[in-house]
């Protein structure tokens, strides 16, 4: 998903596998990147506890109370079917987290594996993987989604598989880069000298060195996943009603922009906050592993 190419490039740190850490990650984030930490924490709380802390049902309709503004009963108002907007936003966060997981798992597992093998072993495999990555990266995500949904029907998983496939090149590019940087370093040669097989070296010596950069890519691609979940559900290619999702909520909100614009505004602010948090978190982690600070 080179949809975020500039961000993913920031994932390549100047010096990989920098040991030892100067401060604990949590303290570093609290001191230097409080906004990133705060937004991601909020996202996690909402995604994990959302269904329990939601003040109302996410799907029960009450047409008598449709399209209300904010009130003590409904803090963020109600939607066209009278459902509580705050509760549905919390439900959307759960869906966004599912989207995040699907995309990062697909992209992370396949991409890292490909990049690790290509960069670590080199040769013809590297050539093939690099070429294919180059071609696939940047290919319009919506087209992949359209093909998959045409084949399998619209659903959250199908839409996110498309986004996950688009994320593979990002993970592959970064893990390949790290593997190439590391494969001739002294500690790797030492392991080779001790008779470790190449596959074992990849697993025990090189893979641990790419955790930091991969977390960075996961944050940025996770942010993209949330954005794409919203966009594809907005188009009707993702999650189907009555399940709440940022995208399907915005789709409903669009028809009532002139009557109750608040619906579109709060939903957009919520999804932007999630995406911004993940993007800032990616920047923060990159900063942490890069160590250049400010």
């Amino acid at each position: 998903m080179s949809e975020n190419a500039p961000a993913a490039d920031a994932a390549m740190p100047g010096s990989v596998a920098r040991q030892p850490r100067r401060a604990s990650l949590l303290r570093f984030l609290m001191r230097r990147h409080p906004l990133a930490l705060g937004l991601v924490t909020l996202f996690l709380i909402a995604a994990i506890f959302g269904p329990w802390i939601a003040p109302h049902s996410m799907t029960d309709t009450d047409l008598g109370a449709a399209l209300q503004g904010s009130s003590a009963e409904h803090l963020l108002g109600t939607d066209p079917l009278g459902r509580d907007v705050l509760s549905r936003l919390l439900g959307s966060t759960v869906v966004a987290a599912e989207a995040f997981l699907i995309v990062v798992l697909i992209g992370g597992i396949f991409g890292t594996l490909l990049g690790l093998l290509a960069g670590g072993l080199g040769g013809i495999l590297d050539l093939v993987v690099s070429r294919v990555t180059e071609v696939v990266q940047g290919f319009p995500t919506v087209l992949v989604a359209i093909v998959i949904v045409a084949l399998l029907g619209p659903s959250l998983v199908n839409a996110m598989v498309a986004v996950g496939i688009a994320a593979i090149p990002d993970f592959a590019r970064v893990s390949r880069g790290v593997a190439i940087q590391l494969r001739d370093r002294e500690f790797v040669q030492a392991a080779r000298g001790l008779g470790a097989s190449e596959l074992r070296i990849l697993r025990t010596e090189i893979l641990p060195g790419m955790i930091g950069p991969l977390v960075v890519v996961a944050s940025f691609d996770g942010a993209q996943a949330v954005m794409w979940e919203a966009a594809l559900s907005f188009l009707g290619l993702g999650i189907q009603p009555p399940a709440p999702s940022f995208g399907s909520m915005l789709r409903e909100a669009q028809q009532y922009l002139s009557i109750q614009p608040q619906l579109a505004i709060v939903t957009g602010v919520a999804v932007t906050a999630v995406i911004l948090g993940l993007n800032l978190f990616g920047d923060a982690i990159s900063d942490y592993f890069d160590g250049d600070g400010r």
Binding site: E3, P6, G138, L143, A150, L151, A231, F234, L237, S258
Partner: protein, 314 residues
């Protein structure tokens, strides 16, 4: 240079073949017999079988792919299951709308983003440069289609100065046409620009460290002249590559924006086709978008030589 051009062209051809195979097999393997879909629910099994044979659907898949490819190259993409019109005609009607939206948005995004990125690179120590970068990070995080909705709320609902959607063809007047394209173009450009600004800034920052910049400064040239005459040309190649990579974003974004503003472009055509299982149209849309994507990227690769003389001699 020749080897480079040949390699790029071979790569483009290979990509096109893969994409067309993908478009074909994804739809050919989809559940449901197209012949049955075409005839409706009242058709007898014998009739369905006859049409299946007539359409060549009983032949092996590889054979069908070769036949389909041959027809496609000749511009015959079949007939829509929904409107029973030729797919090529539907695409030809929709394409100008999408091209106009994508072209205008890209133009606007580049015109705004390149100077902004250059200036942010040079003035990185000013008090406003950090807040400016924060705004850009925020811009990267805002979903483009939500920006579109907010523009509708502002310009069409609150101030009532621009239409909230719909397309006016150029044939009914360029002014009216452009008026209907203002909000869609703005939405898509706002979606594209922040990432481009960020990229130009990073690229320009590394160029600013080059010795020739010091030379220019030593000659007594002003900041503005250094930035736009000496630094900017050295960022073109990277910027073009980035725009090429962003092409997928542009195509995806255009599809979403078309739906929001009810523009009868490729995106809305493809989306309606997917939701109605109109496979010939899905194939056509995927193919057209992929061809556009491949050719623009190829053009960008080949244009390097025009922008940077150093590439030609290499």
């Amino acid at each position: 240079m020749l080897v480079y051009v040949a390699g790029r062209m071979a790569g483009a051809a290979l990509t096109l073949l893969c994409v067309s195979a993908l478009a074909f097999f994804a739809t050919a393997l989809a559940p449901g017999n197209p012949a049955a879909v075409l005839l409706g629910t009242m058709a007898t099994p014998e009739r369905v079988e006859a049409v299946t044979r007539q359409l060549g659907l009983d032949r092996p898949l590889p054979t069908r792919f070769v036949i389909w490819l041959g027809e496609t190259v000749q511009g015959n993409l079949g007939v829509s299951n929904l409107s029973h019109k030729p797919v090529t005609g539907l695409l030809m009607d929709a394409l100008p709308v999408t091209l106009e939206l994508a072209g205008l948005s890209l133009l606007l995004a580049v015109l705004v983003a390149v100077p902004t990125g250059l200036i942010l690179a040079q003035k990185r120590d000013r008090w406003w440069s950090k807040p400016a970068m924060a705004v850009i990070t925020l811009g990267i995080s805002v979903p483009g289609f939500w920006v579109g909705l907010m523009l509708i709320v502002l310009f069409a609902v609150t101030w009532r100065i621009l239409p909230s959607g719909g397309y006016v063809p150029v044939s009914r007047g360029l002014g009216l046409n452009l008026r209907s394209m203002i909000l869609p173009t703005l939405s898509l450009a706002i979606y594209l620009a922040p990432a481009l600004i960020r990229f130009v800034r990073v690229t320009a920052q590394s160029v600013l460290k080059e010795p020739f910049v010091d030379t220019a400064r030593a000659k007594g040239l002003g900041n503005f002249r250094i930035l736009f005459r000496h630094v900017a040309p050295n960022t073109w190649i990277n910027t073009m590559t980035f725009v090429g990579l962003q092409l997928g974003v542009l195509i995806s974004g255009a599809i979403v924006i078309e739906v929001i503003f009810s523009l009868p472009g490729i995106g809305r055509l493809g989306l309606n086709a997917v939701l109605n299982r109109d496979y010939p149209v899905v194939q056509g849309v995927v193919l057209v978008a992929a061809v556009g994507y491949v050719f623009v990227n190829l053009a960008i690769d080949l244009a390097y030589g025009l922008v940077d003389p150093r590439v030609r001699t290499r």
